[in-house]
């Protein structure tokens, strides 16, 4: 950035042209090369090696004993008051033929919540790919617990698992790590050494995000592409001669901004991300703007029917599109705490799973269904589509892992015989994972029918062990090991790998 000679405009522009030309020439080889020398020595930019992570956050405390580890009332040992435990009647528990995992059927009373997709539907369709991990967490504060669910309570230098995957596989991707989540789930990790390219791109509105990926298209009377490109080059010239630019030529914040503007922004425009990621239907886009819906829009609507009206479904759709088109390798989505409506029906509880404070079973049952509908959609899409549309790279599913994270569990007790009870937060819980890279149709750990507390397992063998407590760091390690992300202190969780 230091210049040793006095320069004229013409001379400067000639030099700039050369610089930009060199940058453009190398764009497709390694568009984020300015960042690529940072971080993990095992980082790869080979699409054939790339793995894909989808973190699906069940905000508010999704209880595993209300979904895939239910205990039946008649399984509670004699001498224990089953009516005071959150145990289910036997006829509300299902276990599909061939499944090693059980699930809770739709409960009869969902309060004012409108049930949709059910746990049972999901289990029937996906039990073979389902991995249930019993574990505890270390906080019952929402924001703290949410962040620890993604950082493994800080086991990997404070990185979130999405940041770690992006640092391993996404340094050449323009939007390697996209986060549409809420509260603690949208909070970045704490590793200051994380490569810039692995930092999360925060997405507030998945429906409108495509518009952010192009500097002009869709704006009325926008200049032609070549005219705008030339204006941008001239702008870079101004940066180099302005007193501000010269004075702050070494300012890291400004340098990073300029790097992104000159390298990533053109890449996003050249990839036509504005079209590929556009979730709005054609009738919602004025025809004179040159903006088109995503070619996969109808495919999204088939498996995520709320794409046109439901932020949760929109998050799922955008996560898939970002991965399919090679823009991202790690996406984080979450339920939000505000209620969701479908017409007059309340399909998403206020406070999401945390509505369990008021109405535990209704909130858990309806919200698990809501979460799993988007997971179902993702799995179906990942199994249907070749990665990057290239049959040689195989189905996206083959390289994917879905982590259904939550804040914590819920109380295991209830007022005797009461089905309309509320619960507080509890450290004890479990998580759900889906991936061909893991042993599916398996529960790792178990649940004590006398207390409804889950217990852990031996990570090397996968054998259940009531004396073992698994925590966030082990869950993080399972995901990292399955996705071949190494870090100092990673736990050996080989027993869970396929």
């Amino acid at each position: 950035m230091h210049h040793s000679t006095r320069f004229s405009r013409r001379g400067w522009m000639a030099g700039l042209g050369g610089t930009l030309g060199a940058a453009a020439g190398g764009l497709w080889l390694n568009p984020r090369r300015v960042f690529a020398d940072e971080g993990d020595p095992n980082a790869t930019t080979d699409p054939a090696e790339r793995r894909l992570l989808f973190v699906v956050c069940a905000t508010g405390g999704a209880s595993i004993i209300d979904s895939f580890l239910p205990v039946a009332i008649d399984e509670v040992p004699s001498g224990v008051d089953a009516g005071s435990l959150n145990a289910y009647p036997t006829d509300l528990i299902t276990q599909p033929t061939g499944s090693n995992i059980r699930g809770v059927l739709p409960v009869p009373d969902t309060n004012f919540l409108t049930p949709g997709y059910s746990i049972a539907e999901f289990l029937g369709a996906h039990y073979a790919d389902l991995t249930v991990v019993a574990h505890d967490v270390t906080s019952v504060n929402h924001q703290v617990a949410q962040k620890r669910a993604l950082t493994g309570a800080g086991i990997d230098r404070g990185r979130t698992i999405a940041e770690a995957v992006a640092a391993r596989y996404g340094l050449d991707l323009p939007l390697a790590n996209c986060n549409m989540a809420t509260e603690g789930y949208v909070t970045p990790g704490d590793d200051a050494s994380l490569p810039v390219a692995a930092r999360s791109e925060i997405i507030a509105d998945p429906r409108m995000y495509a518009m952010s990926t192009h500097g002009s298209r869709g704006q009325l009377a926008a200049p032609a592409t070549d005219v705008l490109a030339r204006a941008r080059r001239i702008r870079e010239g101004l940066e180099e001669v302005s007193p501000f630019g010269l004075t702050y030529r070494d300012a890291p914040l400004r340098q990073r901004y300029l790097n992104t503007r000159s390298e990533i922004s053109p890449q996003l425009e050249a990839m036509d991300a504005i079209t590929k990621l556009m979730l709005l239907p054609s009738d919602a886009i004025p025809q004179n703007l040159g903006v088109s819906p995503s070619p996969l829009g109808d495919a999204m609507r088939t498996v995520l029917p709320g794409v046109d009206r439901d932020n949760w479904h929109q998050q799922g759709a955008l996560a898939f599109l970002l991965s399919y088109y090679g823009l991202s390798c790690a996406s984080t989505i979450s339920l939000r705490f505000d209620p969701s409506f479908d017409g007059d029906a309340i399909v998403g509880a206020p406070l999401a799973f945390d509505f369990s404070h008021q109405s535990h079973r209704a909130a858990q049952n309806v919200m698990w269904g809501r979460v799993l509908q988007v997971v179902d959609g993702l799995v179906r899409l990942l199994k249907e589509y070749d990665y990057l549309g290239d049959p040689a790279l195989g189905k996206m599913w083959d390289r994917s892992l879905i982590y259904v994270a939550s804040d914590f569990g819920r109380d295991k007790v209830r007022p005797a015989g009461n089905d309309g009870f509320g619960t507080g937060h509890h450290l004890n819980n479990g998580s759900v994972l889906l991936s061909p890279l893991l042993r599916g149709n398996q529960v790792f750990g178990g649940v004590d029918p006398a207390t409804l507390l889950t217990y852990g397992f031996d990570g090397r063998t996968g054998e259940a062990d009531p004396n073992v407590t698994i925590r966030e760091g082990e869950v993080y390690s399972v995901i990292a090991q399955a996705l071949d992300v190494d870090f100092p202190g990673r736990r050996d969780m080989s027993g869970l790998l396929a």
Partner: protein
């Protein structure tokens, strides 16, 4: 306005401004630009990202447009406070639970700013056709002026004063003169020049960071 601009960037930029000869000469000529190696790089690089509300306020004031006139996405969504709020450093506590604004710009921040600048500048140009406010020296229905003309230098000076609160350096005026012609050297329209000159100044890092 000029006083604020000098105060905000702090000591380093003040020193740089003084080194560059202040804010214009009394005889109307643009200040001379020093060579790059004559400008000390700041050792206090604690720049602050100008967030959505300041961008909106500064752009609105500079171009004398109401905030809602600056930019709309798809003719429906406000660019700054709706479509690109978080991208521009805003927070979204109600819907996303994003209680604190982001520490640094996102990948898409520069693109969002480009969109807003293009829109706001075009709106100003269109309004100035009937009631000139910013581009008072230009005939917006004619071709762009000559680089040596008073109309050109006055336009650039107006943009710098309105958007960056200072006068342009001669080298900066020289760079912007390239916008008067297209890639093939043909003269562009005055309206296109006005929009693009406004765009490049608005989207410099000097506008975005303080």
């Amino acid at each position: 306005m000029k006083t604020q601009r000098i105060i905000f960037p702090g000591v380093a930029i003040l020193a740089a401004s003084l080194a560059f000869g202040g804010c214009g000469d009394d005889d109307g000529t643009e200040p001379e630009a020093p060579a790059a190696d004559e400008v000390a790089a700041s050792t206090r690089n604690n720049l602050v990202w100008k967030r959505y509300n300041v961008i909106e306020r500064d752009l609105s004031r500079a171009l004398e447009l109401a905030p809602e006139e600056l930019c709309q996405e798809l003719g429906t969504f406000g660019c700054i406070r709706e479509a690109h709020l978080v991208t521009l450093g805003g927070h979204d506590p109600i819907h996303q639970g994003l209680y604190e604004p982001l520490a640094e710009p996102l990948v898409t921040t520069s693109l969002a700013l480009d969109r807003i600048a293009l829109s706001a500048c075009r709106v100003r140009v269109d309004l100035d056709r009937t009631t000139p406010v910013v581009f008072t020296a230009l005939d917006l229905d004619g071709p762009a002026p000559d680089a040596e003309s008073e109309a050109f230098s006055q336009t650039v000076e107006s943009l710098y004063r309105r958007l960056l609160s200072r006068d342009p350096l001669a080298t900066e005026v020289d760079v912007i003169a390239d916008l008067l012609v297209d890639e093939q050297g043909g003269r562009v329209s005055s309206a296109d020049f006005a929009q693009l000159a406004c765009f490049v100044v608005t989207t410099t890092t000097e506008f975005l960071f303080v």
